[in-house]
Subunit: 205 residues, 2 copies
Amino acid sequence: MEEKFIPDIVIGRLPIYLRALQGMLSENRRVTSSQELGERLGISAAQIRKDLSQFGEFGKQGTGYSIEFLADQIGKILKVDRVWDMAVVGAGDIGSAIARYQGFANRGLQVAMVFDNDPEKIGSQIGSFVIEDIKDLKQKIQESGILIAMIATPSLAAQEVAEELVTAGIKAILNYAPINLSVNEHVHVQYIDPVIHLQRMTYYL
Amino acid sequence: MEEKFIPDIVIGRLPIYLRALQGMLSENRRVTSSQELGERLGISAAQIRKDLSQFGEFGKQGTGYSIEFLADQIGKILKVDRVWDMAVVGAGDIGSAIARYQGFANRGLQVAMVFDNDPEKIGSQIGSFVIEDIKDLKQKIQESGILIAMIATPSLAAQEVAEELVTAGIKAILNYAPINLSVNEHVHVQYIDPVIHLQRMTYYL
DNA sequence: TAGATTGTTAATCGATTAACAATC
DNA sequence: TAGATTGTTAATCGATTAACAATC
């Protein structure tokens, strides 16, 4: 199996391309070009072609790309041509919003479990999920084989939760708590903190 | 006024540095070094020093940086040494979670208004906010002079809302709807879509 | 003083863009 | 055929790192 090295910055753009392609599909479009896609995304056409060329040849000279075919191919590359179960830790406002979020559908992801440590919340429902006791986190995650988790706890708990998740076999963490996590380097971590995005813009105001 | 050009990628790291410094402050730490900061963040010490050197000299040879002083300086650079009012558009799960989010405190930002178009929601409360009619969005935003907005509407409405916000004078948009917005280039846009982050990790699983 | 760490320069590394032959 | 657009190469551009004099 030839494991060609692909820069992470390229991997990071593929989900953006995929989202735009699925948007075009929902507009019943059939074909697009690197130029059109680039204009929609504010990315140069050359860069899109270069990125895609890392994985194969998906277009036709003169006509461009079949939107459906390219979306399928990118989905396969990103391994979202299946559905990944995810665990949510923390059933506060953010955790609840994630658990109910409709936007995972058709994008290869779904919430499967929600955990909290509050006795008042454990056993109650969020959408179709019964909130489980965080004490059972390790066992439930190991049993299910879930590899992806989202942390939506207070900052103070996040590092400890992350360590528990890693022990349970989690390989990818999306952290909503506004702190940097320190985990084994073979575990992938991404961060969502609205303040980081907002402060990046206040500089320019 | 000397307007030196600073790469956007550097601006993008400043909020990360600031968050880490504030974390250290809350641990009652007084002094840090580029090396320690780098280790916490997974960024090289050289890069941190290079980034900071774009704005001035904040450290002392031999001893490092006063955490409080450096945090203050970065706060000034990012213009979060004041409090910016923000508008939230869309009072569903995500909009509600944003409106109630405690994490804006002491980071230069606060929610000031929440809008929705659902007659059932208009007039009711989220936290301390009364949900306002989206029909009044333009007028209320213009009156208040708010420059920052967050979009938490369904995808189909997001582009239209963005245009209305720009007309009302908004200069920075944080978009939670999973679509790319097309707006005047002098308006700053940032995106939060958990699926983008998650798909970036599924590639490696 | 000796040790530590900054700010900065120069070298290296990597990413983006321009350009074009190939070809649908 | 003429026009359009790909995939790819080489050139350009920009970001990161290594190294070290300055100095606390």
